[in-house]
């Protein structure tokens, strides 16, 4: 089932931080990984990932560098800074608290 775009927009920073906490990635790779892990449920306009990456970079959560891949293509890889790691942990905790509250409301509404 596709996920609502607005819902996705609000959580894109968390997804980026979480994925980058595992390894350095470039934009296209972040999208591939998100789509793969969500089992194709994520359908967002890929161009909008880059402003989000730049925003996080400006906040000091990410650093970036151009690297040349095996096929000779240059790609801009992003990695987390120390502040980014903290922000990733904080955002993840906030997300779990939020979903817990929403789930508890929804489960009571169903019962």
């Amino acid at each position: 089932m596709p996920i609502d775009r607005e819902l996705l927009k609000g959580s894109i920073a968390l997804l980026i931080l979480k994925l980058l906490s595992e390894r350095d990635m470039y934009g296209y790779e972040i999208i591939q990984e998100s789509v793969h892990r969500s089992q194709d449920a994520f359908e967002f306009k890929e161009g909008t990932l880059y402003p989000a990456l730049h925003q996080l970079h400006k906040r000091g959560y990410l650093r970036s560098e151009w690297r040349t891949g095996e096929n000779g293509k240059q790609r801009k890889y992003y990695s987390l800074t120390a502040a980014g790691r903290k922000a990733a942990r904080r955002s993840e905790q906030e997300w779990f608290s939020f979903t817990k509250v929403v789930n508890s409301i929804l489960s009571k509404a169903h019962s």
Partner: protein, 256 residues
């Protein structure tokens, strides 16, 4: 230009990124992403046309991406605008002081007055210099902010003019008229510089002064038309036009 280039160019054009470096970075990054998308579509067996359609669909509207970039870089853009405005106002003030100082020095020479005493008193004309710069630059700001509507182009000048009238009326009630007339002359001068007929703009610097002189001549200069003031205003407007042109050449990327 390929369809991928067109998408990237559209984003770059609309995003108004502050400076060359972020522009080149974003351009290169988006281009690499679009290449990957197109390659993925082709590897799935789509022809070039279908691949282009898929790229457009997956990437999203360039306008939407540009708006998101514009919002990310809004503080930097604002800071750059403020800095550019400060440079323009400073250069304009220097140009006006030099222009009027030169006119007054030449007049002093012609009338066998002392240049030193003339220039020593030039600070008394501070309100006049500020008014000329404010009149000219506020109209220029109107042109940049609202290029398609004349009424809206005039809006910053009219608003600033009313504020200055109140400030001059309060600070220098006896002598508030002349800086206000200078303000109007500079603003009308700039307005008529947009007309492509040579020398028409001279009527802009002369008109308000002529009206003010006809209505209250003795308050300004007695019953003799203040030619020297008009000359100073006209040369100032000419100098300001060159300053504005230079400004647009230096910051060419923002005026493309």
């Amino acid at each position: 230009m390929t369809h991928l280039d067109r998408i990237v160019s559209r984003v770059i054009l609309l995003a108004k990124l502050p400076g060359n470096k972020p522009r080149c970075e974003v351009e290169k990054e988006l281009r690499a992403h679009l290449d990957d998308l197109a390659e993925e579509a082709r590897s799935q067996g789509y022809d070039d046309e279908a691949a282009a359609r898929i790229v457009r669909m997956r990437f999203g509207q360039p306008e939407e991406v540009a708006a998101a970039f514009a919002s990310v870089y809004a503080p930097e853009r604002l800071a750059k605008r403020i800095l550019q405005s400060a440079i323009l106002v400073t250069a304009s003030t220097v140009a006006v002081v030099v222009a009027i100082g030169t006119v007054q020095s030449i007049a002093a020479l012609c009338t066998a007055n002392s240049i030193i005493s003339t220039l020593r008193d030039i600070h008394r004309e501070l309100f006049g210099f500020a008014a000329i710069v404010a009149g000219y630059c506020s109209l220029y700001a109107g042109e940049r902010l609202f290029p398609t509507s004349l009424a809206r182009t005039l809006l910053p000048s009219v608003t600033l003019g009313l504020w200055l009238a109140a400030v001059f009326g309060w600070l220098i009630p006896q002598h508030g008229a002349l800086p206000l007339v200078a303000f109007m002359c500079a603003a009308f001068g700039r307005l008529l510089q947009r007309v492509e007929i040579p020398l028409v703009w001279l009527a802009g610097t002369g008109g308000p002064l002529l009206i003010a002189w006809a209505l209250c001549g003795p308050l300004i200069s007695g019953w003799q038309f203040p030619w020297l003031v008009w000359l100073g205003l006209t040369i100032s407007c000419k100098a300001l036009r060159e300053i504005v042109r230079l400004f647009e050449r230096v910051f060419v990327e923002d005026f493309a």
